[in-house]
């Protein structure tokens, strides 16, 4: 295990380089369509938005929004706790930050924005700056806005929350906060690749914390790996892969910041990366 993968010749084992792209994008669109359709066609399937909803009448709530409202109002409502815990347990089982890549509408649009960025770069239309910020920033923002909510008694982040603003826009029509969302997309396009999701978004932080302990992880098979680093070129948070692929320390991508998007799996020609459940194989 000490050696990183060093196979000399790359044998193409992965025949479907868009498999997880297609599955994941369909899933994002489907979930957000369910929110839209539940109201528009009145089918009562998944009512509400991403900050709070009911699935067949069962309450669900976004953990960060729930924490903010509870700390701001100092009221601990049973339905809200049930909703947030349900979501928490679900993402604890299914990959934590998988929320970001499999559900979040901002992530989806930012991903498309990133393709636009790549296209403009390849055509030499624009040269872009690639600012990076401190990754710890989002954790500070997370606790900062909880503190602000507690002190001010107002859910301050929820005014500008681009995730719920987009979700609301899909269900109830566009609102003013979309200006902020567009601003973020321009910022990502011109200054910092996927900047919001990687460095700032506190909504993702609650899912990151769950992602550290979630058993659903990306597994790295060092015998198949030719160490081409294609996976790190496509990854939004490439530092999560270096631990295993570059240093060979672990066979699982252990960081909670991994979004389980599957881009690395699709990019890997060697078939060295796969979704696996960490503790399940030991149990069996």
């Amino acid at each position: 295990m000490a050696n990183p993968g060093l196979r000399k010749v790359s044998i193409k084992e992965n025949n479907s380089p868009y498999k997880w792209h297609i599955i994941r994008w369909s899933f994002v669109l489907l979930i957000n369509f369910f929110f839209f359709a539940s109201f528009y066609f009145d089918i009562q399937l998944l009512e509400g938005t991403l900050s709070g909803s009911r699935l067949f009448g069962f309450h669900l709530a976004d953990p960060f929004a729930a924490i903010q409202t509870m700390f701001a109002s100092k009221v601990f409502n049973t339905n809200l706790i049930i909703g947030a815990v349900t979501i928490g347990v679900f993402y604890l089982l299914f990959g934590g930050r998988s929320f970001c890549s499999w559900v979040c509408p901002f992530h989806f649009i930012a991903e498309m924005n990133d393709y636009l960025k790549k296209y403009l770069k390849n055509k030499n239309i624009l040269q872009f700056k690639q600012h990076t910020f401190d990754r710890k920033l989002k954790y500070i923002i997370f606790f900062l806005f909880i503190a602000l909510a507690t002190l001010s008694g107002l859910t301050i982040f929820e005014i500008i929350n681009p995730v719920s603003a987009l979700s609301r826009a899909f269900v109830y029509g566009p609102g003013v906060v979309l200006i902020f969302v567009i601003g973020l997309l321009v910022f990502e396009l011109l200054f910092s690749r996927r900047g919001w999701c990687r460095f700032f978004c506190p909504v993702g932080v609650s899912y990151i914390l769950l992602g550290f302990i979630s058993p659903l992880k990306i597994h790295w098979n060092n015998e198949k790996c030719s160490n081409c680093k294609d996976c790190q070129k496509v990854c939004m948070v490439p530092h999560v892969l270096t631990e295993s692929v570059n240093k060979g320390k672990t066979t699982f991508v252990v960081s909670g910041e991994c979004t389980r998007c599957g881009l690395c799996i699709d990019a890997c020609d060697d078939g060295a990366l796969k979704y696996k459940t960490k503790y399940l194989d030991k149990l069996i």
């Binding site: 539940s38 109201f39 009512e47 509400g48 938005t49 900050s51 709070g52 909803s53 009911r54 309450h59 709530a61 976004d62 929004a65 729930a66 409202t69 701001a72 109002s73 100092k74 009221v75 409502n77 339905n79 809200l80 909703g83 040269q127 600012h131 990076t132 910020f133 401190d134 920033l137 500070i140 923002i141 900062l144 602000l148 909510a149 001010s152 008694g153 107002l154 859910t155 301050i156 982040f157 929820e158 005014i159 500008i160 719920s164 603003a165 609301r168 269900v171 109830y172 609102g175 003013v176 906060v177 460095f199």
Partner: protein, 294 residues
Amino acid sequence: MSEKKTKTTGLPRRAFLKGSSYGILAGATLLSAAGAFTLKNKKPLLRPPGALKESTFLASCIKCGQCLQVCPPQVIELAGLDQGFGIGTPYITPSKGACILCSGLPCVLSCPTGALDHHISEGKEAHMGLAVISSPNTCLSIKGESDIPTRISRIENTQGHEKEIQLGYLLDSSLKKLDGQQKTLWLEKFKLSEFNKDSHLVISKTTLHQSQLWIWVKEFLLTSSLSKEACTICLSECPIKDEAPIVFKSKEASNTAAIPIIQKSCVGCGMCEMLCPTEKTSITIIPQAKWKES
């Protein structure tokens, strides 16, 4: 674009980036906090029934819009920047569409955070606001005039959704008040029996206001006994009229005129404001206001 090497600032690149990140962070925090407080003090909004005290409501509402989704008369909207701090929070504009305090209060049941408090189970327990006679000079009841002519002209001069609402209420309330021979005549004309009055609204919404029948209804109502009574629409259409939220105090000089006085049981649903037939409504809701002995 390969001029990176010539960069000779004293500050190391990494330190600069770190500095800029925290700068952005501090700036964003200050801006959002300042923004929140400047937006906070705006005109109060009429919240759905069961809403907590405004400050707690703003803190509790998770902005999911589920109350809007389940609202049977579809009168709840989500606030934008115009309405101040509570972007995405629900409110009602009674002049456009009032809360009907429907049984079971589905909006309260749907609320995941308790911002609409589950402790109330009936419309009459709500405290949304308070009605006031904002323009006593135009009030038909104080003038002792009938509401029928004004309502008919309103129906003829408006369009779309508002027209249908007003027409529906005119037909419904007329039927309720008619008695004896006039009622029989009315039911015959609409080909209705005493037992299937419900189809009334169906007829009204689809075809009535374009048809011969409308001319008959106009004539009938203008010559009926209803045209001789003073307007009491704010009370007669009130969803909690059994609680007597409005009491009419007769003026001695005339026999039909009466002054409507708002009582403590008024919850501020806004039905009276929506249906008040005068051009500028004579009764308006003051959102979140509390009743005081006067």
